[in-house]
Amino acid sequence: MDHTFYLAMSYAATAVALVVEIVALRLRRARALAAIEEERDLETQD
């Protein structure tokens, strides 16, 4: 019996989960840096 589908779905889902986690973390870091810059700019204006 050909079980390629089950094997492919397992490895593909794992790859997707890893990529999603890495991208989400990069976005989180970018947001944190943007928030710091925004606050600093506001203080400079004051």
């Binding site: 019996m1 079980h3 390629t4 089950y6 094997l7 779905m9 397992s10 490895y11 889902a13 794992t14 989960a17 890893l18 986690e21 890495i22 989400a24 973390l25 989180r28 870091r29 944190a32 840096l33 928030a35 710091i36 810059e37 606050e39 600093r40």
Partner: protein, 242 residues
């Protein structure tokens, strides 16, 4: 010793240390992952009973191990944070949770796609699988609780308490196949030895080490993001963002 402890538990120091260490852990994860996949798909033979589908084991078992191990480490950080009121321990607990949840999801997903061709079903309310699902809920609950408070220190304390209470689920997951009559098979790898082919065993161990290195790398990168979020009003963080 006390000096080193307090020195490295300072977010400012740890931020730089984590930044220096993370790439090495990711490189280790990639090298071990490639070696594990090579062993698993090229060297390891086809299983006599299950055919090729058994190769799901090379991600299913390491992901299951990591889901429990990360939870244990996360609860330890939670315990340290509650006992010594250390900010960095609480941040590390928060940094580990998403990766632990991801590995728990992968363990459940790959288990379902292994179960369908071998058991004839994607899902069964068996003790091992249900307790692993409870682990996923614990991770999600931890993340939600940690972020539910305006004051992050209150979130740290509440989530640490939840993590410690949830520790009771780990022995239930591990021993469920012994305590109850489950569809899920018992442990293939034991401290006393294994009946697996040596190439299969090596592939599985290499993948487990790869996942382990990945989890450390991700926790280090995530704790840096958390430090930036929590310490954004300090001078040293503002200097970084220039």
């Amino acid at each position: 010793m006390t000096f080193a402890w307090s020195y490295f538990s300072s977010p400012a120091t740890f931020y730089r240390l984590a930044g220096a260490l993370a790439p090495w852990w990711f490189a280790t994860a990639v090298i071990l992952g490639i070696a594990g996949l090579y062993m698993g798909f090229v060297v390891a033979p086809t299983d006599a009973q299950q055919g090729e589908v058994y190769r799901i084991i090379f991600i299913h078992v390491p992901a299951s191990w990591m889901s429990m191990f990360i939870y244990f480490v996360m609860a330890c950080y939670g315990g340290v944070s509650l006992t010594f009121n250390t900010r960095l321990a609480a941040m590390m607990a928060r940094a580990l949770a998403p990766t632990g949840a991801m590995f728990t999801f992968v363990a459940l997903w790959t288990g379902a796609f292994w179960g369908r061709p071998t058991w004839g079903t994607y899902w069964v309310w068996d003790a091992r699988i249900t307790s692993e699902l409870v682990l996923l809920f614990l991770y999600v609950g931890f993340i939600a609780l940690a972020n539910a408070f305006e004051d992050p220190r209150r979130g740290d304390r509440a989530s640490a308490l939840l993590a410690l209470i949830g520790l009771v689920n780990l022995p239930i997951i591990y021993f469920s196949v012994l305590w109850w009559n489950t569809l899920h098979q018992g442990s293939t790898v034991k401290f006393s030895g294994t009946s697996m082919h040596v190439a299969m065993l090596w592939a599985m161990l290499l993948m487990a080490l790869s996942f382990w290195a990945y989890a450390i790398g991700m926790a280090l990168v995530r704790v840096r993001a958390i430090i930036l979020e929590r310490e954004r009003r300090t001078h040293w963080v503002r200097a970084l963002a220039t």
